[in-house]
């Protein structure tokens, strides 16, 4: 009985974290946008506008539910829930620190990728249920985009999994630091199992994983519908894309899912490629930096720091690059990213067999 309470508490803590992160991310998004464009961003609500997003969410919570008369009532109401739950479930297997993960699932990575895909169904429900041409166009684009980009993203992840030889996210992380059970080889030659730090991260264990990470990062931008791949929302042509008809709390949940998705894909990238909760500081002789900075608190800190850094890069990219055209989007995915991801996977196989020497 007691563990049911634990489950619920963990879920509530994660939800609270996602909500807080969304508030923070929307605020920083607006600030980054402001600074990039030589503006100040929100300044009036609270000190330096710090309470702006809180005020926004209060406004959204107070609003009434408006369902268009021509909408499919059931799909329209269910879509935000499906969208949010799909992303929220993904957090279940993410490792935060040594020994700290909501669920240590052996098929963790596979599960995350599978459950994120459900998001596409939610988007389609939202678009179809709204019975609005902008919504439908937006959701068609979203589904086409997400389904396409899952292929390079998935294959890039597989190429890392082939090196790590496990789908358990906790084990993938473990093998990128000083606690590694399998030998952690820097560039496949130098055993850095005792040195740890930056050198033992997957991107440095096999250099082609750096390319795989870039492929995954680009594909993950597309999967969370962010600029330059935000054609499903495309404010200037589709009003708001699939969430045109949504308002109030329903819109808030779609928004929450969007930012939770940003954090989730950033975190997957961090766990699989950038060492997860492992410290970037290596042991240097008697200076045991890696050992000093590995632990529960440190682990959460490093995970958060790395993930927020990646989220920061996502924001930075959004406010720099213009939106891709639909055909450019597809040709980038199918003609560039997918072949490169396959190349990475082939290299991983060769690396595994010839450099590391079997598994």
């Amino acid at each position: 009985m007691a563990f049911y309470i634990t489950y619920i508490v963990v879920a509530i803590v994660l939800f609270a974290f996602i909500a807080l992160f969304t508030l923070f991310a929307v605020y920083s998004e607006r600030k980054v946008a402001g600074f990039v464009q030589d503006r100040l961003g929100p300044m009036e609500t609270g000190r330096y506008g710090s309470l702006q997003t809180l005020a926004d969410i209060l406004k959204l919570v107070q609003k009434e539910f408006i369902t268009p008369s021509a909408a499919d009532k059931v799909l329209f109401a269910a879509a935000p829930v499906v969208i949010f739950i799909a992303v929220f479930l993904g957090f279940a297997v993410m490792p935060w620190a040594p020994g700290l993960a909501p669920a240590a699932v052996h098929l963790g990575l596979f599960y995350v990728i599978a459950v994120i895909s459900v998001d596409a169904i939610g988007l389609l429900m939202a678009g179809w249920g709204s019975n609005n041409k902008f919504s439908l166009l937006g959701s068609m684009r979203a589904v086409a985009q997400i389904v396409s980009y899952e292929i390079p993203a998935g294959i890039a992840l597989i190429s890392a999994v082939m090196i790590a030889q496990t789908l358990n996210m906790q084990e993938i992380t473990l093998n990128q630091g000083i606690h590694a059970e399998a030998p952690a080889l820097f560039l496949g030659i130098w055993d850095v199992g005792d040195i740890g730090g930056l050198l033992a991260w997957n991107v440095f264990q096999a250099p082609h994983l750096l390319l795989a990470y870039i492929i995954f990062f680009i594909a993950s931008l597309a999967e969370c519908n962010r600029a330059p791949f935000d054609i499903p929302e495309a404010e200037s042509e589709l009003v708001g894309g699939f969430h045109t008809e949504y308002g109030g709390l329903r819109f808030a949940f779609i928004f929450l899912a969007e930012y939770a998705m940003m954090f989730l894909v950033a975190m997957i990238g961090v766990v699989v490629f950038l060492g997860g909760w492992n410290t970037p500081l290596p042991n240097i002789g008697s200076l045991k930096l890696a050992e000093w900075t590995t632990g529960l608190g440190w682990g959460i800190g490093w995970t958060l720091a790395k993930t927020l850094l990646v989220v920061g890069v996502q924001l930075w990219i959004r406010w720099t690059l213009p939106r891709l055209r639909a055909d450019q989007l597809m040709s980038l995915c199918w003609k560039v990213l997918t072949p490169l991801a396959f190349l990475c996977m082939a290299l991983s196989g060769i690396w595994r067999v010839w450099v590391i020497g079997g598994g």
Partner: protein, 186 residues
């Protein structure tokens, strides 16, 4: 295809460098706000936002913003109202029985200004009224910030006559006319 993608990647990196420079540059605000200063165009870095009610852009002394009327100098000729392209000036005049005074530039005043309203919500700041005014009593000032929650506040009234005074002057003129008519009839 890969060539295009590579080109896109390189140009994207270029763009990212520019935005990063702006992001970092946003720690300071733009120093030169006054366009009349010699260094205005060399100090273009940093945040351009001027947080308006608290900070203001420097404006020239001879700035031409909201209208002001020196009603004592007005001869109520109605030229400004006729010149106004958006008809934001409403003037009502009452004829006086005799010369009622002189403006500061020596023009003779023969009309009372019963009403001289300018609707600043309609005004488009073209300044045509100031051009046609023979006594230069309607001018543009350096005032631009008079925000108000009530639309009626934006109608500026410059006439200084009280309602009783207006009624009295009207009666006076009516009596004068009647007297004239009577004299003509005799």
């Amino acid at each position: 295809m890969f060539k295009t993608a590579l080109h896109a990647f390189i140009t994207a990196v270029k763009g990212l460098r520019i935005t990063l420079a702006h992001l970092v540059g946003a720690r300071r605000s733009r120093k030169a706000l006054d366009v009349r200063k010699a260094d205005y165009f060399t100090n273009q870095d940093g945040v351009t936002t001027v947080q308006f009610p608290r900070e203001k852009m420097p404006i020239p002394e001879v700035a031409r913003y909201q209208l002001d009327v020196e009603i004592d100098d007005c001869i109520v000729c109605d030229l400004c109202a006729k010149a106004c392209p958006v008809d934001c000036i409403t003037i009502e005049s009452i004829k006086a029985t005799d010369v009622i005074g002189k403006t500061s530039d020596g023009s003779v005043k023969r009309l009372y200004a019963a009403k001289f309203d300018i609707d600043m919500a309609k005004c488009m700041y073209c300044g045509l009224c100031t051009v046609v005014c023979p006594t230069e009593c309607i001018t543009m000032t350096d005032q631009y910030d008079r925000s108000t929650p009530r639309l009626a506040d934006l109608t500026y009234s410059f006439a200084e006559m009280a309602p009783e005074e207006i009624a009295a002057k009207k009666r006076e003129w009516a009596a004068f006319q009647a007297e004239k008519e009577a004299a003509k009839g005799r």
